[in-house]
C-alpha cells in the first residue's frame, strides 16, 4: 500500500484562519496538501452534524480553526464552537474513532506561520493515528468488505 496520506477537513473562519491560510500562501510557506479547507462565516456556524458528516464521508481528521478567544468577529462564535467540538469528540468516541482525530485551534488572520504549523502538526498527528476505519481508500471497513 502507498504511504498513508490522510484526508483532513479544516473548517476555517473567514475572519481569521481563512485569512491566515491566505497569508501562509502569500508568504510562500509550505504546509501539507492533505488539508481541505471549508470556509465558514464564523466557527459559531459549526454544529456536531458538520463534523460527523466529514468523518462519515471518510475524513481521517477534522479540525475547526477560529479566532483567538475574545477576538471573534461575531463576539462569541468561537466560544460557541469550542464546547460543540468537545461534545463531538465524545460522539465520535462512541462510534469507535479516536477523539484526537478532532480538534479546535484558535489563530488570528495575521498568523500565517501558525496556520502552516497547525496544518503540519495535525497532519503528523493523524498519520500516527493511521487511517480512519471509514476512509474508503485505506480504511479497515472497506478493506474487509472488499
Amino acid at each position: 500500500m502507498a504511504e498513508f496520506e490522510p484526508i483532513i477537513v479544516a473548517f476555517c473562519c473567514h475572519y481569521c484562519a481563512y485569512g491566515a491560510a491566505d497569508l501562509a500562501g502569500s508568504m510562500r510557506l509550505e504546509y501539507p496538501t492533505n488539508i481541505r479547507i471549508i470556509r465558514l462565516p464564523c466557527t459559531g456556524k459549526v454544529t456536531p452534524v458538520f463534523l460527523l458528516r466529514a468523518f462519515e464521508k471518510g475524513a481521517d481528521g477534522v479540525y475547526v480553526a477560529g479566532c483567538l478567544e475574545g477576538d471573534c468577529h461575531f463576539i462569541q462564535g468561537n466560544l460557541v464552537a469550542k464546547p460543540r467540538v468537545n461534545y463531538t469528540k465524545k460522539l465520535i468516541q462512541e462510534v469507535g474513532l479516536e477523539p484526537e482525530r478532532l480538534e479546535m485551534f484558535n489563530m488570528s488572520a495575521a498568523m500565517g506561520p501558525r496556520f502552516a504549523e497547525v496544518a503540519r502538526e495535525f497532519t503528523e498527528r493523524i498519520k500516527v493515528l493511521g487511517p480512519s476505519p471509514l476512509n474508503k481508500k485505506y480504511g479497515h471497513a472497506s478493506n474487509r468488505a472488499a
Binding site: 460527523l52 460522539l91 462510534v95 471497513a141 468488505a145
Partner: protein, 222 residues
C-alpha cells in the same frame, strides 16, 4: 415540556442488530426544544449509527425524517409511505410518541432512542430541571407556585422535614429544600396564612396510581 435524554449509544446499536434499513424519526415537539430528539439530533444519531455499522462491516441504510409531533395521529401519517419498506423505526420522541407510532404501525418494530425523564423546563440553554410530576391535583395555589410534590424529595404537603438544612435538602446540598422555597416566597408575598391551611392526605388516584389517565373534551367528540 417533556424532557428526554438520549439512551447510551451501545444500547441503541444493540436494539438495531440485524436490521438493514431503518427510519430514524424525530419529533418536532418537546424533544426538539430540549435538544434530544429533533431534526439536528436525528442527523447526529443517524451519522453515528452509519459510521458504527460501516466500521463493523455491516452497513445500515437510514432514512432521516422528523415530523411535527409523534403524539398526534395526523402527523405520524406522514411516514405511511416509508414504514412498509423498512425493518424498524427508531423513534427519537418521548415514550408517548414511540407508543403512538407502535400502535399505528402494527407490523413494524418501533424502538425508543430516548429515555423519557421528566416534565420540566430550561433554566438556561441546554439545562433542564424537573418542575411537575403530573399528579393530577395541582396545589400551587397553597404553595406559592412551587410544587412540593415534584420538588420536595419526600413530596411532603405540610412543611419541611427535619432534613432541611440551610435551605438545602438532605439528599444533596445542591438540591433546594422545596419547603424552604415555599415558605420564603409565601412570606415575601405576605401569604403565610396559606401555610396554615392543612393540605389533606394526597389522593394519588389522580396520579398514575389510578391507572392510565385520559382527558376528553366533550365538545370535540364527533
Amino acid at each position: 415540556m417533556v424532557i428526554g435524554e438520549r439512551k447510551p449509544f451501545d444500547e441503541i446499536t444493540r436494539m438495531l442488530e440485524g436490521h438493514k434499513k431503518i427510519v430514524v424519526l424525530g419529533c418536532g415537539g418537546c424533544v426538539t426544544v430540549c435538544l434530544t430528539g429533533g431534526h439536528d439530533e436525528v442527523r447526529v444519531l443517524s451519522s453515528q449509527l452509519r459510521m458504527a455499522r460501516d466500521k463493523a462491516g455491516d452497513p445500515i441504510e437510514i432514512i432521516e425524517k422528523t415530523v411535527e409531533r409523534q403524539c398526534d395521529p395526523e402527523y405520524i401519517e406522514e411516514v405511511n409511505d416509508i414504514v412498509p419498506h423498512i425493518d424498524a423505526v427508531l423513534s427519537m420522541a418521548c415514550g408517548a410518541g414511540v407508543q403512538f407510532m407502535a400502535e399505528r404501525y402494527t407490523n413494524t418494530p418501533v424502538y425508543p432512542a430516548l429515555n423519557t425523564t421528566f416534565v420540566g423546563g430550561s433554566i438556561k440553554e441546554g439545562y433542564y430541571v424537573e418542575k411537575c410530576q403530573t399528579c393530577g391535583e395541582c396545589k400551587l395555589y397553597y404553595t406559592a407556585g412551587i410544587c412540593p410534590i415534584a420538588r420536595c424529595s419526600k413530596s411532603l404537603l405540610n412543611g419541611p422535614c427535619g432534613g432541611s438544612t440551610k435551605g438545602a435538602c438532605e439528599i444533596d446540598p445542591q438540591v433546594d429544600c422545596a419547603w424552604q422555597l415555599i415558605i420564603d416566597r409565601l412570606k415575601s408575598l405576605n401569604q403565610m396564612d396559606r401555610y396554615e391551611d392543612i393540605i389533606a392526605v394526597n389522593d394519588w388516584r389522580t396520579n398514575r396510581d389510578g391507572g392510565p389517565r385520559k382527558m376528553v373534551r366533550e365538545d370535540f367528540q364527533r
